[in-house]
């Protein structure tokens, strides 16, 4: 299994990966609370980016509504915990099927009716918005006034109930991100992965080559949605509060996909690098503006937008393909 995963990967890449993983595992020993929170955020976006990338980067289906799956995961686990005291890991067992089912429903409707491209993207926005307004009026999750989890005391870490110090959350999301990376690598090397790439490149050609495109697009959306819902569970237990206006909002969906696009769509490192660059950029801008004494709401976002603009104009394929060439660890074009 492991031998197959690393088959054909250059030594240099493996060495760098190992170094990166060790650095990430050791990081909490030297980083303060602030840096730790930033790194949790980076890994969180790297994880969701990886999950989203399965749909867009591998199978070529542009989803602009992934906030739906985050939200469903977050609300399912949080509501089970608040109402019945059911822990997040059991909650996850409920949340993943719910999100996967939602993904399957959207995928079934869209792919049956040959809704594709921009139309598919807007259909996914529509479902996320639908959920946002729906949850605003759902009394069971306290509607628009928000669902709150009892705030944890940092006296001891309870991994089973996900209550405790940020360091614990850091290792949870690090493990999830590493697992997502491995899953994506395994998927790309599997039969399904090759079918996805064929569908992404030319769906008609894939169909005429005998690939059941409907079936494999469904597989992509179900896996992607299920994986994304874990990020929601994590979000709920890390932040302890949920508002439909925040969780399901279109700007959340956009946030999710900026990382992989900036990093490099369809690559395994793209989502991680993109999350690092964008979160790093946002935090640097905050710090820089604070140091300069600029206190203008919006100033940070203007710079952020300009940086996005420059990246997409200069590097159409994203940062990772370019960086990989520089480092001499070019990922096989996938």
């Amino acid at each position: 299994m492991i031998a197959r995963l690393i088959e054909g990967v250059p030594r240099r890449t493996l060495a760098m990966l190992a170094a990166l993983l060790i650095a990430l595992i050791a990081a909490p020993l030297v980083s303060g609370d602030y840096l730790l929170t930033v790194m949790i955020l980076i890994l969180y976006f790297a994880y969701i980016g990886q999950a989203w990338n399965i749909m867009m980067g591998f199978a070529g289906q542009l989803s602009l509504g992934h906030a739906l799956y985050v939200g469903l995961g977050a609300y399912t686990a949080a509501a089970l915990y608040v109402h019945y005291g059911i822990g997040p890991w059991i909650g996850l067992l409920v949340a993943v099927p719910i999100a996967a089912l939602a993904g399957a429903f959207i995928g079934f409707l869209a792919f049956r009716f040959r809704v594709a491209g921009v139309y598919f993207a807007i259909l996914t926005i529509a479902f996320a918005e639908f959920a946002r307004v729906g949850f605003d009026h759902l009394a069971w999750t306290s509607g628009s006034s928000g669902l709150f989890l009892p705030v944890a005391q940092y006296t001891h870490n309870d991994l089973w109930l996900l209550r405790g110090h940020p360091v614990m959350f850091y290792y949870v999301i690090l493990a999830a991100t590493a697992l997502a990376f491995i899953i994506c690598r395994a998927l790309l090397q599997s039969r399904v992965g090759y079918f996805w790439l064929a569908i992404r490149e030319d769906e008609e050609a894939a169909r005429s080559a005998g690939i059941d495109t409907f079936h494999y697009k469904m597989v992509a959306v179900v896996i992607s949605a299920g994986m994304t819902s874990f990020a929601g569970v994590f979000y709920a237990f890390f932040y302890n509060n949920l508002f439909p206006e925040q969780v399901f909002h279109i700007s959340r969906s956009i946030e999710i996909i900026l990382g992989p696009i900036v990093g490099g769509i369809g690559t395994l490192f793209g989502p991680i690098l993109g999350a690092l660059l964008l979160t790093g950029l946002a935090e640097t801008l905050t710090a820089a503006l604070a140091a300069l004494g600029v206190d203008l709401p919006g100033a940070k976002q203007v710079f952020y937008g300009i940086c996005l603009l420059l990246v997409i104009v200069a590097l159409p394929d994203g940062v990772w393909p370019w960086l990989a060439r520089k480092l001499g660890v070019r990922e096989r074009k996938s």
Partner: protein, 290 residues
């Protein structure tokens, strides 16, 4: 509730829907020709709305009189945007175009936020609270003016595309990109022109909308979404479809606000969108492309 209430709300919804339709018309024209989805559409509209607010508060210029000048400003803005940046992206994949326009939208929203702050602003004209009474029907003057102006602007745009050489040339680009290049059309310039026209449309819509709703910088993304819903409902790329979609969504939102709760009204707009996408993905008036 008496029947007149329903009638009044319905007519108000249809008139507001005409303005929505004009906004969506801009998006539809841009997509129909340039094949780029303008994710900064609502943000461009808020720029026009703020221009109207500033001109009114500084010089007491009536927004309806400023319709043409503000649209002209937006035209130049749209032309420059397409000629300067977006033209380089027309052959790039959709997600690349998407990121470009999202970046532009982020910049627009936050520049407006820096200049005007987060508070809602509006225009109080002398006729803000006027209304016309026709039998049992009471119509707000602002909505009536705005709806009529939307029809006039839309008609002018139809005429331009139908009867002028330039309009014909633009339609040729939309029909067949390679063919247009072969017969020697300057496609990039025509694209810039189209984006300018789309921006002028949404600018005109913004000027009228400022009579009906308060403007905040955060309004942009919400209206971008609304424009998508309308355009897909009516048929992406279809001009009459955009207007019809606007009226349908305006009517639905008004009725949903009356019959259920105003906060749930956008759910009904999205429900219509989902139904249309599933059973008639090309939209009500759209022609199915291959």
């Amino acid at each position: 509730m008496p029947a007149e209430v329903y009638l009044n709300v319905a007519v108000g919804g249809v008139l507001a829907g005409l303005v929505y339709g004009l906004m969506a018309l801009g998006l539809s024209v841009i997509f129909g020709v340039v094949r780029v989805v303008n994710f900064a559409h609502g943000e461009m509209m808020t720029i026009a709305m703020y221009l109207a607010v500033v001109l009114f508060s500084a010089f007491h210029l009536d927004p309806l009189l400023m319709l043409v000048p503000i649209s002209a400003v937006l035209f130049v803005f749209g032309y420059a945007l397409q000629a300067g940046v977006i033209n380089r992206f027309i052959t790039r994949p959709e997600h690349s175009q998407f990121l470009l326009l999202v970046a532009i939208a982020i910049i627009m929203v936050n520049v407006l936020l820096i200049i005007f702050g987060p508070d809602a602003q509006n225009v109080q004209t002398s006729y803000s609270y006027d209304s016309f009474q026709i039998g049992a029907l009471i119509v707000d003057a602002t909505k009536l003016y705005a709806g009529c102006a939307a029809i006039v602007v839309a008609a002018a745009l139809f005429a331009f595309f139908r009867y002028t050489t330039l309009g014909t040339a633009i339609r040729a680009c939309a029909d067949n990109y390679t063919g247009a290049l072969v017969v020697g059309l300057d496609v990039h310039r025509l694209y810039a022109l189209t984006f300018g026209l789309g921006a002028a449309c949404v600018g005109a819509a913004g000027v009228m909308l400022v009579l009906i709703v308060d403007v905040t910088p955060a309004l942009g993304p919400a209206y971008t979404l609304l424009a998508f819903v309308i355009v897909i409902t009516g048929g992406l790329g279809s001009m009459p479809g955009a207007l019809l979609g606007g009226v349908l969504i305006g009517f639905t939102e008004a009725m949903a606000g009356l019959l259920f709760t105003p906060s749930a009204k956008s759910m009904f707009a999205f429900a219509i969108l989902v139904l249309v996408l599933l059973f008639r993905p090309q939209g009500i008036m759209g022609k199915r492309a291959a």
